[in-house]
């Protein structure tokens, strides 16, 4: 079970339309990714709430098809 990087990006952008998303395939195996997500909607939110917002866009896929996602989030500078 794996997911393509552009599929991850599409899901995140569907849930967070303003988000800038940068996906890195860490192991080249379509299974271990890093995502850096920047969204104005994160402003004033805790790290926990920011990451929850990203996880919400991925729904059941997270922890299922998508095994390993290293996640960092920020509001725009």
């Amino acid at each position: 079970m794996a997911m393509a990087a552009d599929e991850i990006e599409a899901l995140i952008r569907a849930g967070l339309p303003d988000a800038q998303v940068r996906i890195t395939d860490l192991a080249g195996d379509g299974n271990h990714y890093a995502a850096h997500v920047v969204s104005e909607s994160f402003r004033g939110l805790s790290r926990l709430a920011q990451q929850r917002a990203v996880y919400a866009t991925l729904g059941e896929r997270m922890g299922g098809d998508l095994h390993a996602l290293q996640l960092t989030t920020a509001a725009p500078n």
């Binding site: 790290r47 929850r52 996880y55």
Partner: protein, 110 residues
Amino acid sequence: MTDSAHARIQDLVSKNEVVLFMKGTPLFPQCGFSSRAVAILERIGVPYESVDVLQDQEIRQGIKSFSDWPTIPQLYVKGEFLGGSDIMMEMYEAGELQQLLAPQGASHAS
């Protein structure tokens, strides 16, 4: 099942100041994220309780709904969910985790 899992998890995070739910053990982590979480706690040098979710299916499933968080590892400090390994790393790099886990912050007095 969920109720009993949640009761057990509540018990664990109430009775231990610092609890890491992880895959594997601190000596033999079974996943890169759990390994990273352990490395951060070891670096800080704080005593912690670890729970190997691979040895306990009830907790493995229950912890996700208990915390409303889809991935493992998960760190609890004083009964509060702090986040997964990415948040631990960000907090560590910002010096916040060390401060939170400093002896006066998480004493074992109780």
